[in-house]
Amino acid sequence: MQILGSMSSRLVEVNSRIKGSVDHRRSKIEHLYSALGFGQLECLKIGAIYRLEGELSCEEIERISKEILCDSVTDSYSIDSPLPDNKTFFVDIWYKKGVTDSVGISLLKAVKDIGIQHLSGASHGERILFHRAGENNGEALEKKVIRFVSENLLNPLVQECKITGQFSQ
């Protein structure tokens, strides 16, 4: 059973270090943003993000990240990563509660396989790191980005987004 409430929850972000299809998607998003008349926005990174819930030690989180979430050859990971600076912000896209998140379900199994018992819930989403480019009005930008993401990068019927960054003046 997927337990939706959380005791303590940690976020692990995984990004690819190699050139590949992600770069193509980044420029596509930037292009779409300006083509739809939203303005200019720089898309710096697109990666996977995992929410881990339960009483897990730091070592356990590290092991889960290293052995399961991250491919040591091509990926890097960071746990509860902070924003690089106040010109950047994260948009995290998650499935809404109650929607099947098969990756989250598989992660529960995978963690048990490597002998870690206390993971009580897991979900999987996507994290996009944006740079605000020339845009200075924070609140207006936040609204615009939420609208852009909701209309173009997710389906509000099953997904939701969370935006993290400094937007108020």
Partner: protein, 249 residues
Amino acid sequence: MSARALILKAAGTNCDGETAHALKISGAKPDTLPLNEILKNPAQIFNYSILVVPGGFSYGDDIAAGRILANELKYKLGDTLRKFVEDKKLVIGICNGFQVLTKAGLLPEDSNFEQTVTLAQNISGRFQCEWVAMKKEKSKARWLEDLPKNFELPIAHGEGYFVTKDRKTLNALEKNGQVIFRYAPKNPNGSMRAIAGICNKNGNVIGMMPHPERFVTQYQHPEWSRRKMEGDSVGLLFWKAAVHYAKGV
């Protein structure tokens, strides 16, 4: 005596049927067992001289292709597999099986399960199912000698972009004769040096992205209706070679 082959099946494995057929017509006696059954008595693996990790989407390829099954093999079956490999028995990973073997550290190394290569998402960013032209390299997997130099096989994967952790690893693979197949002339997924398959230092553990089990009669080739093709198909030659090797172990 016919060689016995074990086809390992996990949730989401889906090429077990055609793999069993290919082994059968190549003269082996294949058994297909779910991982749960194997784990009940891991030593039963030693009744076999070929272990195949077939294609599919083990555990949905959730998180990364082959990752969860790779960990499971490492943690639950590690010692047994190590012994199996040391005995010079044959381990073949195809497509998802190749992804599993690399992530379990069985390829290209076979000593301490450390992962040094991987199969990342195709450069195109999408799943690709098509027939590709390939060439065989001179490699430690000598048992593949009977295969022609150039041939075609189907690929069907979203994560087949072969990457090594550094240049040294890549050069070592080339130098040690551990590259067995390359895509040629077209590289469909961006793989470093167009590598499509590799083996371990002894040549008895191999992994490849293309599917030889899907080309065991000439009538499976997309151009069978316009080209005269005689003799055994490349896929069949591959499996016959595997069985021939296994009989000698």
